[in-house]
Amino acid sequence: MGSVKNMVRGTIFSAVYVVTTIVIPLATFTLLFNLVVEELPLDFEQQDYNNIVFWIVAFGLMISGCAFFTFSSPKQSIRRAILAVIQVLINCLYLWSYKFSGAAVLTFIIVDFGVMTLNVQQMILIYMGLYFLTIVLKVYDIFDFTINRKKIRENRMKE
């Protein structure tokens, strides 16, 4: 029964990551690209939009796939701890992809008016800082699960 429960948990978390890393960002960018400023529509390079969508979907799928394996692993197992570190690292790459795909500094042409630039690099750097703290936590988990492996197994047997 435990393995089925783990699989279900993995699937649920995978779905959560699909929503948070693919669906919400794509919806946000689609809304942004359809924004009307001062009653004037925004114009943009289709290639920019395609670039952003490609990288969000590519890394989003990697994170979601990794989330399945992480969360379907037994609680407090070394496997789970290692997969969690890998997942955070992919999350960092995902955030970094915002920078190199052009999503961190968006430039729009406001037809018959000028140019609008939205820079969210500072926000991405703050999130990178948070991911660094998460990496510290996950590495701590690896040490903790390795050192206390015997005790964890005993507790698992009692359950």
Binding site: E38, I110, G114, L118, N119, Q121, Q122, Y140, N148, K151
Partner: protein, 191 residues
């Protein structure tokens, strides 16, 4: 019984979660505020028709000038609007004779004016009324074209004055930086 190491981990985990949650909420509200400010027509009141541009320039060269532009911004968002900066550059467009080689003329564009002014912060829900002013000290007299090199047969107008206006601001603790630019706006012609 919960191990001590897990309690320490739980405290650290809650700290990271709270931090992530607060930053996400601030970022979301900041993004929403930007949309609220930009979508309403009256929130950014820059009317270039209200601009006053006086220039004392003749064949002998530049003698003086000034520029005034009143504008207003309404902060309709959830946070204070910080670091509001207004930048203006004015360039002259003219035909340069015997350039780059003798016998050929080329249209040149030289920047003769540049100024940036920081208007500080507009608190949430308030409207800031500002006047951007510039005087002769912001012009570059040496950059004005020498009367002997101008192709007067091109015009009228012989000289065209174009402005590049940029309004930039920081939002939600600097996480969002927004810049609006009006590019190559014709503000005057001579003669």
């Amino acid at each position: 019984m919960v191990r001590v190491s897990r309690v320490f981990r739980l405290i650290f985990r809650i700290f990271i979660l709270l931090l992530t949650l607060s930053i996400t909420v601030v970022a979301f509200l900041g993004g929403l505020s930007s949309v609220m400010i930009l979508q309403e027509t009256d929130n950014i009141g820059i009317d270039t028709d209200d601009a006053e541009f006086n220039l004392d320039y003749d064949l002998a060269g530049f003698h003086g000038g000034n520029f005034t532009l009143p504008f207003n911004i309404t902060n309709a968002g959830y946070f204070d609007l910080e670091n509001l900066e207004f930048s203006l550059s004015i360039s002259i467009n003219y035909s340069h004779i015997d350039y780059p080689v003798s016998g050929s003329n080329e249209t040149k564009n030289v920047i003769v004016f540049e100024k940036s002014e920081n208007f500080g912060t507009i608190p949430q829900g308030q409207t800031g009324f500002f006047i951007f002013t510039a005087d002769s000290s912001n012009f570059f007299p040496a950059k004005f074209p020498n009367a002997t090199v101008v192709n007067y047969l091109r015009g009228p107008p012989v000289f065209e004055f174009y402005a590049n206006i940029t309004l930039s601001l920081d939002y939600s603790l600097g996480m969002h930086q927004l810049a609006l630019s009006i590019i190559n706006l014709l503000i005057g012609e001579l003669p």
